[in-house]
């Protein structure tokens, strides 16, 4: 089994295609949609957790790419601007996936981007707006 959180960019021509359906039907993959919307550039954007057998997963990714869907790992999209973060920690209880945590010794705030589900709750609640989204 393999499970990854990825960001899918659907070009305008694919926005009304049942792409995720095919991932399930033809490649036997499980999906959990964390976020989906159409951007101002009329590009479809979906943050999805995709899981399945490694072979199926890779074939599913190949199918997405051959259809014209651009794929990015999620961790590249939500970043912390280190120069703005003051390590206060008010984001920690807001984060639903445990991606933000205080180090008990240094009392600095760690951002584990592999746990991030891109809900963006931290983005506006951060007092110095140190959490940034770059989809």
């Amino acid at each position: 089994m393999i499970s990854k959180r990825i960001v899918l960019h659907f070009p305008h021509r694919l926005v009304n295609q049942p792409i995720v359906y095919k991932l399930v039907k033809d490649y036997d993959l499980q999906f959990n949609i964390l976020k989906a919307y159409v951007t101002q550039q009329e590009e479809g954007l979906m943050v999805i957790e995709l899981a399945g057998k490694k072979e199926n997963f890779n074939r599913g990714i190949e199918y997405l790419q051959s259809s014209g869907v651009k794929i990015q790992p999620l961790s590249q999209d939500v970043i912390r601007n280190e120069s703005k973060c003051t390590d206060c920690g008010v984001c920690v209880p807001i984060c639903p996936s445990g991606a933000l945590a205080v180090d008990p010794l240094t009392r600095k705030v760690h951002f584990y981007d592999n746990k991030c589900i891109a809900c963006e709750l931290c983005v506006k609640t951060c007092p110095t707006r140190a959490m940034e989204v770059h989809f």
């Binding site: 003051t86 390590d87 920690v92 209880p93 807001i94 008990p104 506006k124 609640t125 007092p127 707006r129």
Partner: protein, 400 residues
Amino acid sequence: MRSIKEINEKIKKGQVVAVTAEEVIDLVKKKGVKKAAQEVDVVTTGTFGPMCSSGAYFNIGHSKPRIKIGGGTCKFNDVPAYCGFAAVDVYLGATAVPDDDPRNKVFPGEFKYGGAHVIQEIVAGKDIRLEATAYGTDCYPRKKLETLINIKDLNEAVLFNMRNCYQNYNVAVNLSDKAIYTYMGMLKPKLGNANYCSAGQLSPLLKDPYYKTIGVGTKIFLGGGIGYIAWHGTQHNPSVKRKENGVPQAPAGTLAVIGDLKQMSPEWLVGTGMLGYGVTLIVGIGVPIPVLNENILKYAALADGDIYTQIVDYSQAYPQVVPGSLGEVNYAQLKSGRINLQGKDIPTGNLSSYSKARAICEELKDWIKKGDFLLSEPVADLPQAESGYTFKLLKERPLA
């Protein structure tokens, strides 16, 4: 045991023993108060949190021809400043926002830019747009001024905060069934989180709980430069209930502080926007506590587990001014990341950066050890715990 004068002699000779508010805890545990008090001359404390009653005043210099901004209007990067003073003296408050900011019209408002951000940019040496209007007089004929200004060209740029450095603060929770947006951050419904705001065992007034060394005239670390305690802060409330160890169990003392903005740094004065609440300034403050006797060291060695505070509901009790507390916790519990209230395990978040407060303690310790920072003798006491000085609510008297 020792006087401030003697400590300063040691600082000048490079022989002073300075430790941080954190280091002193272990030292006293290991050696006992008596022995540690013989060794340690100064304990450095620090805090780095949002402090709304902050602002800066500026003398921008006279234009040619002259303008009397006093009684007119004045904006820094669109943020209005108060100008009810002489011709070119203005005061910019941290929480001011541009006239066209939507505020909370689209709730919760984002408050991305305001007085605090302007102050941080001024300190960073950035050019700022100044726009002023005036009514014009015979001696100050000009009615309009639009110019870029820079801190290096201003006559005076002075940080003057009327309430900073709260001695203890509430833990904020939300008992209602919808999220609320407060100065204590976003509070999730039904006790979803508990937010606090204190450096606890590093916080200046918690380590000198009876204000025995901290007074008017005390020289401090302020925003990365040197400042002074100007007065007790507004809402100073030394008479609240205290634990046996002397530490107030609720928000108590406060400080008004002043210092030359030109020496400060944008690292220690940070503009901030609290979602749905407003703009505020994060201020870094460090206060040295001279170990004049064992008693002072005993207080300075208090640890997170000794310092208690109250849990307050910010959906009803706080806005409606209903007295009382949902419970009491100490800072060791808060810092563990979870507290228990009404049978619920609640995650905690701090608005005040402990790691930055620790860095301020270290920085001030370095200044003292290097001989760059001499201690000052306070010239007057802050209103003391037994003084009867208290914080009052407004008694409204309806207009006839």
